[in-house]
Symmetry: C2
């Protein structure tokens, strides 16, 4: 029996993604669909070929639309509560790649009320401001096209979003939220309402344009529930239901299914300095044998080695090079110390580059941000 | 046993205001408080002396503050779903009078989402726009000071209101809303959230000024429940709890405790033409005897005569003249036909004047309206 639980606010246990797909009623991203994407994009991002994005809702329909000349826009988001981690980058990097390949516009929602409403320990919504600004800079640094990308905070942009959220909310009962999200009668009424705000950007462009525009939402699979509820409602309002592309969680360095912010060395933050990164990577779970002798003799399992997994998820785009790393692990050719030192260097190089772009992002902020 | 029910969305049965005060835990507006008000206002509006405004929360505290030099602002509102009736004028006329006498600023909320969320038959929020504009013109026509009065629609001003509403919402559970408003699990999540939006203007000025400003809310008694819930929360957020001044409902012409929009001749709309007004008043319940002979002999009861009540509530500010009208009714000196014809003329004169002011209000709208 698969003993795990995935909600937008909590991930418990070891996630079995096959079981999760069935539970959520989402479809695996199969070879045929990947080939259809490739027809338009020429190449495929390794997020797709490596099944880091592994499932979808109606991506086939979205491609039908695209092939009929009906261009789609992209929508993704980030609920700020602290600094962004490596794992948070994945849906944004996918979105940026899709923007480039399909020439698509991108809406990025920053639901700055969500964590405030859902988390007891966040008591002052205004204190999130510096965190929000830092998150937005991280997002811009990923390389979105300023001419085609709009970023908005829920509280700032509510003059546009709230009315549309009410239209969604009218069609969602508390019973539905209770069942879908597991909220109880003791949940606060802002948290209960919140899902309607998250639904809005999935049809906002259709409202703005006055005609239906297809929407694709790349997201981490824990966010699917919002759209399981909202897709029906959006359809009833007369708009296209958004298509969705689901990614796995970047595992925690300690082997958790999703990086946990309560396990100190589980997640690498984009603001971590090189020493911290090296220290965290040094503690990573590699699943190697108890001694160097045994490791050299028996090798390790790349699927259980977090160092290998971090290469796979983010740090080795070249499939051949990745296979070499996996092979070294399997055959015991590389020992944990060296393996970790290499990865730490790779991550630090990436973060150094990222922070340069982030510094440049500051002057571009105004081009991206919407206010109502 | 008092068999009636009062919620913001429905009034059933014959309202016993004394019972209601106890049920809601609000205090009668007594002689001593009226005298305290009079000390500052020199005279008293007949809404106060005639107990049309009959109860309060912490008005004594508000006057303490005022006497210490701590000026208050006023907050009231109107949830649009159709044209405004005579009854809707009362809290606004009281607010305007208080503005003049105390030199107070006024915040007027137009929660344009409320009825959309609460009423099944309002299916398109955008179709309310012409009604909203008409309501706003009616409100401006009452004579608010454009330099001291701000009017805002929830959906337009959500860029300011929504964040504050989230701060309120975080402290209200669904259980509380269920108990206080009688909402069920099948209520929609927008309706459940809505009370947090209604709470915001009661402390918004304190947020804006960066220090606590006392607030007084004149309202019809059915709205009290919103603040029964919100006052505690506002206190916990560190702001002054708003003081409240409650008015009775203008009875329906047919004798209902609150004018019912489902009984065609019960309510007079500000847009009713003179013929319609005359027709409606002609059908009013007067409680007179079965024949003219009997009426002349036994007289009638002014408390049960809706014609007398309309003079009392709105159309005869002069207490002596009102007593004469009541006396004529009691002594059978006036018969229903003449009684009604006089009132209809009076109402039509009032409405003609009101519509002139409404026409002038159009050019002033921009001075009053806020957007985020």
């Amino acid at each position: 029996m698969a003993d795990f639980n995935v909600t937008p606010w909590n991930v418990e246990g070891k996630v079995d993604y096959e079981v999760l797909e069935k539970r959520f009623g989402i479809k695996p991203l199969d070879e045929q669909l990947l080939n259809r994407i490739k027809k338009h994009t020429k190449d495929l991002h390794f997020f797709l070929t490596r099944q880091i994005f592994l499932a979808h809702r109606e991506l086939d329909w979205l491609l039908d639309q695209y092939e009929k000349g009906n261009k789609f826009y992209l929508y993704t988001g980030r609920a700020p509560s602290g600094g962004m981690t490596l794992g948070h980058l994945i849906p944004f990097m996918m979105t940026r790649w899709l923007q480039e390949k399909f020439g698509a516009e991108v809406y990025i929602q920053i639901p700055d009320e969500e964590k405030f409403l859902a988390k007891k320990d966040i008591t002052d919504i205004d204190k999130l401001r510096p965190i929000i600004e830092d998150n937005v800079l991280d997002i811009i640094a990923i390389g979105f096209d300023p001419k085609k990308t709009k970023i908005f905070l829920d509280t700032d942009y509510a003059g546009v979003l709230y009315k549309q959220a009410c239209r969604v909310a009218k069609r969602i009962t508390f019973s539905t939220v209770k069942d879908a999200f597991g909220l109880t009668n003791e949940a606060n009424i802002g948290w209960i309402f919140y899902t309607s705000m998250q639904a809005v950007p999935a049809f906002l462009k259709s409202v703005e344009e006055g005609h239906n525009v297809p929407c694709l939402i790349p997201l981490a699979v824990d966010q699917d529930v919002h759209f399981r509820v909202a897709r029906d409602v959006i359809g009833k309002l007369g708009y296209y239901k958004p298509a969705i592309l689901h990614c796995k969680f970047l595992p925690g360095l300690m082997g958790d299914s999703k990086m946990s912010s309560s396990v100190e060395t589980d997640a690498i933050y984009l603001n971590d300095n090189p020493e911290t990164v090296t220290k965290k990577v040094n503690k990573a779970l590699t699943g190697q044998q108890a001694t160097a002798e045994l490791q050299k003799k028996h090798g390790g399992d790349p699927d259980k080695c977090m160092v290998c997994q971090y290469y796979k998820f983010l740090f080795e785009p070249d499939d051949k090079k990745l296979e070499k790393i996996f092979e070294s692990e399997r055959k015991g050719k590389i020992l944990a110390g060296e393996h970790k030192a290499d990865l730490a260097k790779r991550i630090n190089r990436f973060l150094e580059e990222h922070r340069k772009k982030k510094e440049q992002a500051r002057s571009k902020m105004d081009q991206f941000m919407l206010k109502s």
